[in-house]
Structures are given as structure tokens and as C-alpha cells.
């Protein structure tokens, strides 16, 4: 033993064993308290055991140990029902949780199937919808419920500049009817008069002195626009009876009549699409 400042004694840890050994090895091999050995070495074999006090101490320690064992056993015994109850509850919860999870997973699978079905149906429907939409557009253009733009012609007509003296210089509804008729014959795809789309419901009439198109009174000049082939329509129009008639009107009555080919005309829609009397009859 060496003395250090402050009165601490430094005990040489290697006093009884020669080399320094690692912790694990020490734990595994030096399992008997070294004090036993050092005390036994120091004790004089001749001198009998000096202190009966310690012998009593050893016995009481054994008593206490026994007590500890007993109480320990007892406590464990007492805890058993609690432990068992807790286990039982845990197991119950686990089983409940598992069946609930199984239900949820079933629900999940069913939902997943349903959503997948809905989505694939949606995809199929999109195609149908597109077809329907295309058909609606094509029909709408033909019926006049959808506006169009494109190349075509603009025909401007007006009463003769000097009316009064020569009646006949006034544009009549029948004249416009013939003109429009000629345009259709010349290949027009859509026609409007003063931005009124001509549909199968549109009438060109005379009410009093004003021409009405689709029940609306118009005043000259009248602008008739039509989409179609701008290169051929003017000539074709003039070849029709209507066109010829108008040339006649122009020449003989001073009615104004002008055809201009255009790269872009705009024909509005007539949104009326309500039938009061007619219904489709489908073949069965």
C-alpha cells in the first residue's frame, strides 16, 4: 500500500494476481471475493477465530437472506394473479385487435376493388363521352346551335339607291329566300343574315314593310355571311337561279348586290333548341 497526499490509501489492484486482465475475463474468473483469500493469508493459523461477533453477524445475514427468499417467493406468488390478469387482458386486447385489423383489411380490399372498378369505368366513359361530344358538335354545327368560323363569303345587298320611282328596287323577303337558297346550293355550310343564324326553324318573312328573320325585323342593308369554299362559292352562287335572279335585280332595278370572298367569317349560334311538338321516333 502506498500513501497519497490527503491520507488516501492506494490499494495495489494487482497485489494478489500478477498480470492485469480484462474486465470480462476478470468477471468470469475472479468470482470469489479476493478478500477471502487475503484474509486467509493474513490470519495466523494458530490464533483461534477472534471475533464471535462476526460469526453472529454471518448467521443473522443468512437469516435475512432466507427472509428475502421467502418474501420474494411470496410476493411473486401474490403478484401471480395480477400478472395473470394483465396477461389475460393483453391477450384479449391482442385478439380483439387482430380481428378488428382483419375486418379493416377486408374493408380496405373491398374499397380498393370498388375504387379500381370505378376508375376503369371512368376511363371507358371518357371515351364514350368524347364520342358523344363529337357527335353533339357535328350535329350542333349542322343544326345551327353551335357558332362557327372559317373561310367563306359575305354577300351584301341593299335596296336600290333611288327607290320610289321604281318599285321593285326594294329587297323583298322572297328575294332573300332565293339568295339564301342559292348559297346552300353553292355549297354553303352555315349561313347567317345580319348575324342571325339560319336554322331549320328560321323563317325569312315580310312583316309590313320590314323583312323579318326569325321574327326579328331587319333593315337594309342586309349582310349575308356564309362559310364554305371562298374560291368556288361566288361563281357557283352566280350560276344558281338565285344568283342569276339577283344579277337581274341588280342590272334592271338597281338593287345593290355584292359578293366578297373572305378568309374568315364568323357565323354565330342560334341557341334555341327546344322542341314543343316533334319527338324522335326510333326504329325498334
Amino acid at each position: 500500500m502506498t500513501h497519497l497526499p490527503g491520507g488516501f490509501r492506494k490499494v495495489d489492484p494487482d497485489a494478489s494476481e500478477a498480470p492485469h486482465i480484462g474486465l470480462l475475463t476478470q468477471v468470469m474468473t475472479q468470482t470469489l471475493d479476493q478478500d477471502y483469500a487475503s484474509v486467509a493469508r493474513r490470519r495466523d493459523p494458530q490464533v483461534p477465530d477472534p471475533s464471535p461477533r462476526w460469526r453472529i453477524g454471518a448467521l443473522s445475514v443468512l437469516l435475512v437472506f432466507g427472509l428475502m427468499l421467502g418474501v420474494s417467493a411470496l410476493t411473486t406468488d401474490q403478484e401471480q394473479p395480477l400478472i395473470a390478469a394483465e396477461r389475460a387482458e393483453l391477450i384479449e386486447q391482442i385478439e380483439a385487435g387482430q380481428s378488428k385489423l382483419a375486418d379493416q383489411q377486408q374493408q380496405l380490399a373491398a374499397l380498393s376493388d370498388e375504387v379500381a372498378r370505378m376508375q376503369s369505368r371512368l376511363a371507358a366513359e371518357l371515351t364514350d363521352d368524347r364520342l358523344l361530344s363529337n357527335r353533339l358538335t357535328a350535329l350542333g354545327v349542322a343544326a345551327g346551335t353551335i357558332g362557327v368560323t372559317g373561310p367563306g363569303v359575305v354577300v351584301t345587298v341593299d335596296d336600290a339607291r333611288y327607290t320610289g320611282a321604281e318599285s321593285g328596287g326594294v329587297v323583298l323577303d322572297t328575294d332573300l329566300q332565293l339568295l339564301v337558297n342559292g348559297l346552300w346550293e353553292a355549297g354553303a355550310e352555315a349561313v347567317s343574315i345580319d348575324d342571325h343564324r339560319l336554322t331549320s326553324l328560321t323563317s325569312i318573312r315580310l312583316a309590313g314593310e320590314a323583312i323579318t328573320v326569325d321574327y326579328r325585323s331587319l333593315a337594309p342593308p342586309y349582310v349575308i355571311e356564309a362559310t364554305g369554299d371562298p374560291d368556288t362559292m361566288p361563281a357557283r352562287l352566280l350560276e344558281t337561279r338565285g344568283g342569276q335572279f339577283w344579277l337581274d335585280l341588280k342590272t334592271n332595278y338597281g338593287v345593290q348586290f355584292e359578293i366578297v370572298a373572305k378568309s374568315q367569317v364568323s357565323i354565330p349560334a342560334d341557341l334555341r333548341d327546344h322542341l314543343l311538338y316533334a319527338a324522335p321516333r326510333r326504329a325498334t
Binding site: L108, L139, V141, A143, I146, R205
Partner: protein, 240 residues
Amino acid sequence: MPEPPTSPPEGSTKRSLRSQLFVGLLLAVLGFAAVAQMRLTRDDTDYSGQRREVLIELLDSLSSAAERTLVQVDELERTRDELLSSSERRQIAIDEAESRLQVLEVLTGTVAATGPGVTITITDPEDSVAAASLLNGIEELRDAGAEAIEINDTVRVVASTFFTEQDGEVRIDGVAVRPPYLIDAIGSSHTLSEAVIFPGGLADEIERLGGTVSVEEANLVEVGSLHSIDAPEYSQPTEG
């Protein structure tokens, strides 16, 4: 002199045999216990052999699995509800589109139509009724609210229908039509018939030309002829 190798004494043979048997028995017990435990571990589904900590861990992982599943279920339900509502909306749009389709088909003459209306019979004994007269008559019918018109059960009259004459024959949309002209028109029977017999109307004009006009009102007029539409080459729709 080297001693000959002695054979092992009898007693030690018996002892080594006994100890070998003992070892063998112990190993047998070990093997049996190992197999029993393995089988128990594999078949243990009632948790009676599991430690408390294992049970608690199991419970924890169960509840997080349940939570995850719940989140997934929620997400899927939301997706499904969205799909349902968009499907409902689509159905409404489809229904609307279908009814529009019907109207458009009647207007464009791509489907046969029925309804109340009139049948007008025009005779032309003097061959003087011109296309222009028929055209004017059609305009009068349109003015009177005719929704579907056909002539001679052959030609469906639509917006683009044009009337011409060739070789003394009336042609409608290029198709030759001969008198007597039968015009079927669907609309308000009364209004339509009034329009025809109106002074200065179709009847007056035809009679002036030497023909006759008779109008028959009916509750059910059939307009069966169809008009085929061509895809437009120059017109572009401005919507849709």
C-alpha cells in the same frame, strides 16, 4: 522389456458403456426437448408462452398497423366519394347531353320524328308551281313554328335544304319531286293550318297558279325521311 499393451480391464469397459448409455440418454432428452420446443414455437398461436414484453410489443405493432390501415381506408373512401360525386355529375351532364342530342337529331333531320301537325297536299295540274313557290311555302311553315318537315315522304327539309328546277322538274336537295306535293309538317296543327290558308299565304299563291291546296290536321304526323349531314370542311366550331 516393453510391456505388451494391456487390454482394458473388464470393469472399465462396463463403466464406459454405462457412461456412454447415460450420455446417449441425456442427448436423447435434449433432442426431444429441442424438437418439442421448436414445434411449440411454430404452432404457438395462443400467446400463452410469450413474455409480457413480447405481448406488449405485439399490441403496439397491432395498433400501428390498425392506424395505417385506417388512414388507407380514409384515403380510399375519400377517393371513392370523389369518384361517386363526379360520376353523378357526369350522369347529369350525360342526361342533359342525351336530351340535347335528341333535339339536334330532329332539327338536323338525322332521326325520324312524330308529333301533331298537318299534312298539306298540293296539286299542280297546270305544271306551274315552281320551286320558288314551294320554298316560300316552307318559309311560311317555319314561320308558323314547324319543327320537322318532309316532302313526298322522300326529302327531309332542314336548314340547308335548297329548291331548284331542272328539266321542268322540281328538285329538292337535288332529288326530283313530282306533284302532287305532300308536305308533312310537325308543329301546332292549328297554327300551321292557319298559316297555309291565311290570305296571301301558300294556299292563295298555289291557287293563283292554278293548283289546289288541302290541309289536314292530325294528332300524329310522321316525318320519316332522313337527311344525312356531311362533316364541315370549312367551318370550325367556336365552342367545344
